[in-house]
C-alpha cells in the first residue's frame, strides 16, 4: 500500500537537506524522523534543513514529531531548521496550541542555510575559546612550577 513513500535525505557538505513534498501520514512522519537521525549519525551532519513549504497543514502529531526530531538531533550534536512554513500553517499551529517551541525556523532555504552556518561558526568559536582558556590554564600551571 504505502511502500515507496520514503522521503529522500540529501547530503550537502556539513548539512542534510530534506524536502517534504507529500501529505505526511503519521507513519511516514515517524519513519522520516528515524531516517533523519540515522543519517545524522552516519554522516556526522552538523545541521538539517527540513523544507515544509509544500505542506498544506501540520497537525499536532506532525508538529510534535518535528519538534521531537529537532530535540533528538541536538543530542546528536546536530541542529534542525524548519524551512518555508506557509503562513496559514503557522497561524493554525499556534491556534492549535502547538507553537513548535524551541525549534529553529527560517522563511526559506537560503535563510535556513545562513542560520546553520552562523550557528556552526558560533559553536566553533566557543570551542576555540574553551581551548584557549585551557591552554592559558596550562600555561599558568607551568608558570607556577
Amino acid at each position: 500500500m504505502l511502500e515507496n513513500t520514503s522521503i529522500p535525505i540529501l547530503k550537502l557538505k556539513d548539512f542534510l537537506l530534506v524536502s517534504i513534498q507529500i501529505d505526511l501520514h503519521d507513519r511516514i512522519a515517524q519513519q522520516l524522523q528515524q531516517d533523519i537521525l540515522e543519517r545524522i549519525s552516519q554522516t556526522q551532519a552538523k545541521g538539517v534543513l527540513i523544507d515544509i513549504s509544500a505542506l498544506e497543514m501540520v497537525d499536532s502529531f506532525m508538529g510534535r514529531t518535528l519538534a521531537d526530531t529537532a530535540r533528538m538531533a541536538s543530542t546528536l550534536d546536530s541542529e534542525i531548521v524548519i524551512v518555508g512554513m506557509q503562513p496559514a500553517v503557522a497561524i493554525t499551529l499556534v491556534e492549535l496550541g502547538l507553537p513548535l517551541g524551541g525549534v529553529k525556523t527560517a522563511i526559506n532555504l537560503d535563510e535556513g542555510y545562513e542560520l546553520l552556518q552562523e550557528s556552526l561558526k558560533e559553536k566553533a568559536s566557543e570551542k576555540q575559546g574553551l581551548e584557549e582558556e585551557s591552554e592559558e590554564e596550562e600555561a599558568d600551571d607551568s608558570g607556577s612550577d
Partner: protein
C-alpha cells in the same frame, strides 16, 4: 454529503483532504481551509486511536449559518469525562492531548455526544463570514 470511513491510518489523510476540498468549494479562504483540515485531522485521528474505526461525514451546513459541518462517528469506548478530555495537554493515550481542545479552538462550534461503552459523536462547524 461525503462519507469517509476511518479504518486505517491513511484514512486520516483522506478525511482531511476531503474536508479541505469541500471547504474550498464552499468559499472558505486558505487559512480557514487549513483550520478545517487540521481540526478534521485531529478528530479523525481520535477515531483511529481510540475507537479503531468509524466514519467522518462532511457536508454543507444545512441551516442558518452558512459554512461546513463535519461529524465524527464511532462505536468506540466513549469518553468518560468530556470536560477533562477538553483540557489542554490531557490525553488518555500516548497522543498529545491536543486533539479535542485544539479542534475546538480551530472551529466555531463543537458538540460532543458520548456515552461510555457506546461510542462518541463529535460535530464541528466552521461558519463563513456573513
Amino acid at each position: 454529503m461525503i462519507v469517509v470511513p476511518i479504518k486505517e491510518e491513511s484514512d486520516i489523510v483522506h478525511a482531511r483532504a476531503a474536508a479541505k476540498d469541500v471547504a474550498r468549494k464552499l468559499g472558505f479562504g486558505l487559512v480557514d481551509q487549513t483550520r478545517i483540515s487540521t481540526a478534521v485531522s485531529e478528530l479523525a485521528r481520535n477515531i483511529y486511536l481510540y475507537a479503531g474505526e468509524g466514519e467522518v461525514h462532511i457536508e454543507e451546513h444545512p441551516d442558518s449559518h452558512r459554512g461546513i459541518r463535519v461529524t465524527f462517528i464511532d462505536n468506540g469506548p466513549g469518553i468518560d469525562d468530556v470536560e477533562l478530555a477538553l483540557k489542554d495537554g490531557w490525553s488518555s493515550t500516548k497522543a498529545m492531548g491536543k486533539g479535542l481542545p485544539g479542534a475546538k479552538r480551530l472551529t466555531d462550534h463543537m458538540e460532543i455526544n458520548t456515552q461510555p461503552g457506546h461510542g462518541t459523536t463529535v460535530t464541528i462547524e466552521k461558519w463563513l463570514a456573513q
